[in-house]
Symmetry: C2
Subunit: 417 residues, 2 copies
């Protein structure tokens, strides 16, 4: 009988063995395989939908909430979009082989720093089954084998998608182990997965705070945290208030459930009296909670608990803080922010410069919506996530962030004295 631990470890060995083969593929071979897998996904629409229906029926019976079921539900359009996503990745520039630095030392040694695949990229993700093909595509294009572990809710869908992707790889003459999905969806399997040190070269968790905490507690493999976005919009005393209103509505309301949506509004006291009524009008349908100063200005603003300022609502709710100067805004944001995306609305260049310099976040935005902080909007073509950590990658992660570098040193017999 195989235990969960040995079954995950066995799969790890397979994907590890496949990694050098993926790394050695040419750009053309990778692109051709991505296009074949895309065709295969569309051709297998019925097979995938059947598996998905099984998942939907099961989670519905379990009484899972509607928004989760929506994320889980696949349609022919969604499958076509997954296929198109793979074709787009095929069109992106291959980061592998890029020479990022080159120099020669006085002793004649010549140094080349070159971009190479990481090896095996692990991804742990929650319900959305499209991550199975998206993550595979990006990892593969960057020359990596993909080791995936989805959630129990999407078990049948992910299994079907993995089967189709592996079939496409095989048709392209590539080892199907370039993409391995862990079938076990238990917590034990997740913990074993994040401890495959020596196999997983980089682990990317795509999920909520409990997954992140589990990574911090248990992971022994290197990881990049795709964390929460408690994003702020700071409206400075010199802000164009019409612009501020428009940006705030976009950042809060366009898609409240995503990490680059605004969760908190910080307003300079000099414009608070004038601006907050505009906010109350414009954020129609949004629950507003604020500090005492904000509440004094508008009865539509309820009291904010201390913890509200640190919360990623992911919902039609926003916290409001009034500050008496720019430095208080910066201090507030650096205290409660999660290092994702923070915006200032101001016509004052000096204030903008101080804000962009002193705010400690992946992206600092001046006079635009925080919603622009993602790989597509950055022009990266696609993203595997948005890093809120400072090491390796910060902000939207595209293909180059799925690689590492290597030094190659050429000599003519040099020894060190």
């Amino acid at each position: 009988m195989t235990t969960v631990a040995t079954s995950v470890a066995d799969l790890a060995q397979k994907v590890k063995a496949a990694a050098p083969h993926v790394a050695a593929l040419s750009t053309g071979e990778k692109n051709q395989a991505l296009r074949l897998v895309a065709q295969e996904l569309v051709a297998a629409t019925e097979e995938i939908l059947l598996a998905n229906a099984e998942d939907i029926a099961r989670v519905e019976a379990e009484g899972v909430v509607a928004t989760v079921i929506d994320r889980l539900r696949l349609t022919p359009e969604k499958i076509a979009a997954m296929a198109q996503g793979l074709e787009q990745v095929a069109d992106l520039a291959d980061p592998v082989g890029e020479i990022t630095a080159q120099w020669t030392r006085p002793n004649g040694l010549s140094f080349t720093k070159i971009r190479v695949p990481l090896g095996v990229v692990g991804v742990i993700y929650e319900n959305r089954p499209n991550v199975t093909s998206d993550a595979f595509g990006l990892c593969f294009k960057a020359g990596n084998a993909a080791f995936l572990r989805g959630s129990s809710g999407a078990f049948a869908s992910n299994m079907a998608l993995a089967k189709v992707i592996r079939r496409g790889l095989q048709q392209a003459g590539i080892t199907p182990d370039a993409m391995v999905l862990v079938e076990e969806t238990s917590r034990e399997a997740a913990v074993t997965f994040m401890q495959q040190r020596g196999t997983i070269d980089c682990l990317i968790p795509r999920g909520g705070p409990s997954l992140i905490q589990s990574i911090l507690d248990h992971a022994t493999v290197p990881y990049v945290i795709d964390g929460d976005g408690n994003c702020h919009i700071y409206v400075d005393q010199d802000a164009d208030l019409a612009m501020a209103t428009k940006i705030l509505v976009n950042a809060k309301m366009q898609r409240p459930s995503v990490c680059n949506a605004a969760e908190s509004l910080v307003v300079h006291q000099k414009v608070a009296e004038q601006f907050l009524p505009l906010v109350v009008d414009a954020l129609n349908g949004v629950t507003l909670v604020g500090d005492a100063a904000a509440q004094r200005i508008s009865p539509s603003i309820g009291p904010a608990a201390e913890e509200d300022f640190g919360k990623e609502f992911l919902d039609l709710k926003i916290s409001i803080k009034i500050v008496d100067e720019l430095s208080a805004a910066i201090a507030h944001i650096n205290t409660y922010g999660t290092g994702h995306s923070e915006a200032i609305i101001t016509a004052d260049q000096t204030a903008a410069d101080r804000f962009t310099q002193e705010i400690d976040a992946a992206a600092v935005v001046v006079n635009a919506s925080t919603r622009f902080v993602d790989g597509e909007e950055f022009g990266f073509g696609a993203e595997i996530g948005i890093s809120t950590q400072k090491l390796h990658a910060r902000g939207p992660m595209g293909l180059p962030q799925l690689t590492t570098e290597k030094y190659i040193i050429h000599g003519t017999g040099q020894t060190r004295s």
Copy 2:
């Protein structure tokens, strides 16, 4: 009564509060402070030596081995070298503020990617007290506050050094909390230290396998592993054997206790008969252990256990493996290596290219000694360590590796549609 945990956490708050001040310093201010601290170190030679004598007396009484005592012992020359090291760091280019990418999107948003300090860099290190000033200097020049935790053996020396460094900072008008040393040297303090998530932006361990394991088991802060170097020299069938001998002697014998020293020799069978007798002669005083094929060639080669091939001896000992082709050499090295530095000696360009492409290590060297893999020899001026991981930094880490990047986005009111 304060516990170890609260005392470490209190220090963490101090260093965290200092970090924005360090980040805001100009290059000139940082360089002036480094030079003042250097002067202060030399001026305090007597004070430091007195503290060091206390450490030496204590560890001698404890019966610690001579090599450890050697590393611990300070002299006026060593203190002068520490001061000179800080002056050299002052002379290095400041990585902070470098614009690493810049572009504009069709919607008019302008993107700037800029190099910024990490914030707080933590370093846990073993006996060498010079790390106290070296680590401070590099962290500080890159705009970071340094949070240091030395070993119990060097307790008094480190305390004295920290006091002198903090005095120098104060003279330069900079908060002394730009460098904070944890006084507690217990294991509990080390674990608490590596769990200061939210304070330590990057932890760099400088120590042996047990420290690394403790980091893997307990750290919740981001870290960069400065790991073992089980470095190989592969002598190809087309190697110039005189060159190979010279390089092997340098890589093995010049300084056997360092991570870029060679620990294993891999030889193509076509040249083994001719080469191994040269090796036996040249590596006079080195214990040779090899596989059956190597032992058949020379009676001076003892049997190697399986584990010898995976071991970083850090001593005058080397393992020898005979392979029947290049791909077997690559497979052997990728199995037993630690991803540090691997060398091939060959006149065959095709073999060299395959080796540099397929070996999975931070540095791959052709026809030169692995001993060149360090920050000084790379031309980085100084290094805080050599990363054997693939994320964030790989290979020698200089000042840029002690920074992160931030995106600054300027708009004119753009919202996402």
